[in-house]
């Protein structure tokens, strides 16, 4: 199938997200300001004010109400979106779980920012990693192009009748949200056709078939409902892959669970999420030209966690470094480190070295990544406890 002609734009990550939202034209958007997500909603509000979308905006008084309104509107039958960062996501927390547990296909860009205290507006993944167990699908984006592509795919994944789970599309605050880069966008009509109309299963607004949302569910049924939810998350992998393939046929950019860069013959692989994967690729390029067999695995889908496929992709490596942009405070290492190690357990005997880096927006560069490859080559592993990397001692 011939891919469609794109329009090439120069957009910040936030503008890229807003552009995807313009094309999706959700029926309801609830919004509350928080840095660094603000510009995404500024841009989208301009689209609404100019009549470029038919969206009804709910300009709420808090993120808690933003997610609450999203739950109401999505249960009512609308296609619904919001966006947030950091403390905003933390304030939503309770209702983030309600959204997933009521199987409401809400799509939410999360512009990653550190959590307080101390207050810090810059990037780390503490916010979205903190709600990794909330029942939302999580897609991490490396750059503005992926922000755009992931948001469009998220609508299809979330609204799949066999899944019906909300999706978080994350991207790094400031590093991606405020950096202008090339984004190839699909024609509006192609996006509308790709996502189709939402056909809600039991909308609250079907007044002739009244339904009760959110009943009290005790010992005799709650567990069964949680199992169904877990099964939906397990089934989501196949849908994410199918949607990624179909999107590839449309755009020429196919998406899977992760992106393998020079890994097929690599001895040493660095696994990273978000913008750091781009930095790691640059480091791998430099080391490859010096003859080192190194590669990068960029994880896109963190929930559901693609354990089996990921383990297979890492199987040939001599050692792996996992970079976590959140602490986790487990005393062991960050959440990605623990999931990767668990995925390899009893499958492959490969050393996994954990690094916690970049908290509160602390920079990471090509030389730093190269030094991690150096650690792996020298057999200096952080297997039992992840290292804090790039921090003053």
């Amino acid at each position: 199938m011939k891919t469609l002609e794109m329009k090439t734009l120069a957009l910040t990550g936030n503008e890229s997200g807003a552009e995807a939202m313009r094309q999706i034209d959700p029926e309801v958007v609830a919004a509350y300001p928080i840095t660094p997500q603000t510009e995404l909603m500024h841009k989208f509000a301009e689209f609404a004010a100019d009549g470029k979308v038919a969206t009804e905006m709910i300009l709420v008084e808090s993120e808690h109400s933003a997610m609450s309104a999203c739950v109401g509107a999505s249960a009512a039958g609308s296609r619904v979106m919001t966006a947030t960062s950091s403390a905003g996501l933390a304030l939503m927390w309770e209702i983030v779980y309600v959204a997933a547990s009521n199987r409401l296909p809400i799509v939410m860009p999360v512009v990653n920012r550190a959590l307080s205290a101390p207050i810090n507006i810059h990037c780390d993944h503490a916010d979205s990693m903190g709600c990794r167990d909330s029942g939302w699908i999580q897609l991490y984006s490396e750059d503005g192009q992926e922000v755009y592509d992931n948001i469009i795919q998220a609508v299809r994944i979330a609204e799949n009748d066999g899944i019906l789970l909300p999706v978080m599309v994350t991207f790094d605050g400031f590093i991606i949200s405020h950096t202008m880069a090339r984004v190839d966008v699909l024609p509006d009509k192609a996006v509308r056709k790709f996502i189709g109309e939402r056909t809600p299963l039991h909308p609250l607004l079907d007044v002739n078939k009244p339904v009760t949302y959110g009943p009290l569910d005790l010992q005799d049924y709650y567990f069964e409902h949680k199992k169904q939810q877990a099964e939906a998350m397990r089934s989501a992998g196949a849908v994410i892959k199918a949607v990624g393939k179909e999107y590839g046929e449309l755009s020429g950019r196919e998406y899977g669970f992760f992106d393998e860069y020079l890994t097929s013959d690599a001895d040493f692989i660095i696994l990273a999420l978000g913008s750091t994967a781009g930095t790691a690729k640059a480091a791998a390029d430099e080391l490859r030209s010096a003859g080192e067999k190194v590669g990068v695995l960029k994880l896109r889908v963190f929930r559901p966690f693609p354990a089996e496929e990921l383990a297979a992709a890492l199987a040939g490596a001599r050692a792996i470094a996992v970079l976590d942009r959140s602490e986790g405070f487990s005393g062991i290492g960050g959440p990605v480190f623990q999931e990767v190690r668990s995925a390899l357990y009893r499958r492959y005997q490969i050393p996994v070295s954990g690094y916690v880096y970049g908290l509160g927006g602390r920079d990471i560069n090509v030389e730093m990544i190269a030094s991690i490859y150096g650690d792996l080559k020298a057999g200096r592993y952080h297997e039992d406890k992840a290292a804090h990397f790039g921090v003053r001692e």
Partner: protein, 314 residues
Amino acid sequence: MALNLKELSKKRELLSPGHRACSGCGSILAIRQVMMAVEGPVVVGFATGCMEVVTTVYPYTAWRVPYIHNAFENVAATMSGVETAYRAARKQGKISEDVKFIAFGGDGGTYDIGLQSLSGAMERGHDLLYVCYNNEAYMNTGIQRSSSTPFAAATSTCPVGDVELGKTQHSKDLTAIMAAHDIPYVAQATPHNWRDLIGKVKKALAIRGPKFINISASCFRGWRLPPHLSVDVSRLAVETCFWPLYEVENGEWKLNYKPKEKLPIAELFKLQGRFSHIFEEANRELLDQAQAFVDRKWEDLLKRTGDKVQKVLA
């Protein structure tokens, strides 16, 4: 439909029998009366609380209309979302019915934890009626004090002890706070005067925009009251001017009922075990303080409404 008992008795109940409310529950009476006022399609939302729990124990529901419960503090925001989705669907021609929206919360979910959500929804102007069933404490979780609990009342978290004698603060005037939002309609009601209550709900539902009705509803468990007195106690709340019946329509304050003879607050409190300590001789000062507060609030109200009684004309 004429507002009389004969006609109401023929009406299909939207809240069906078989729910699990206590016999003698004032809140379920209030909600039943609210639903009796509804004509045509309606979506209801509930904050977490007694009435949510007793009407929807999975796999059963007492609701014959679409119903959503989200969490404790957010029924107003949740119903903002439902109402906005409705406007979006209307705009796209996906729905043609004229649908009404009612959010219900107890005093905990309305006066306290849900106040921000309520204020936001009212300020944004959603076409939504918010009904507080106010039983003056957190009854669902075991009778803890709320900002609606009256002065001197004993609760699980402000019990009568050797040093403390029940709640030390007066209740918050939420109805006035909602009136200060300058929304089109605000009212107080109680289920003993069903004609007034149903009339107010009918009137509210006929108005476009945000509306708020605060209903005093007894809880015999929390108030330490014989269950058969749950309606009488509402009448006494009005006759003592503890809970005046009034409405604020587009900024105009109207008194809907004035007792011929204002009864002392003791008449209301003496029925309720939560106030028994204030009738001990050593604690009479508490009763005086409670009376003084009611007197001041009543005088304030009369300044706003005038002496003239205006019946609710829905």
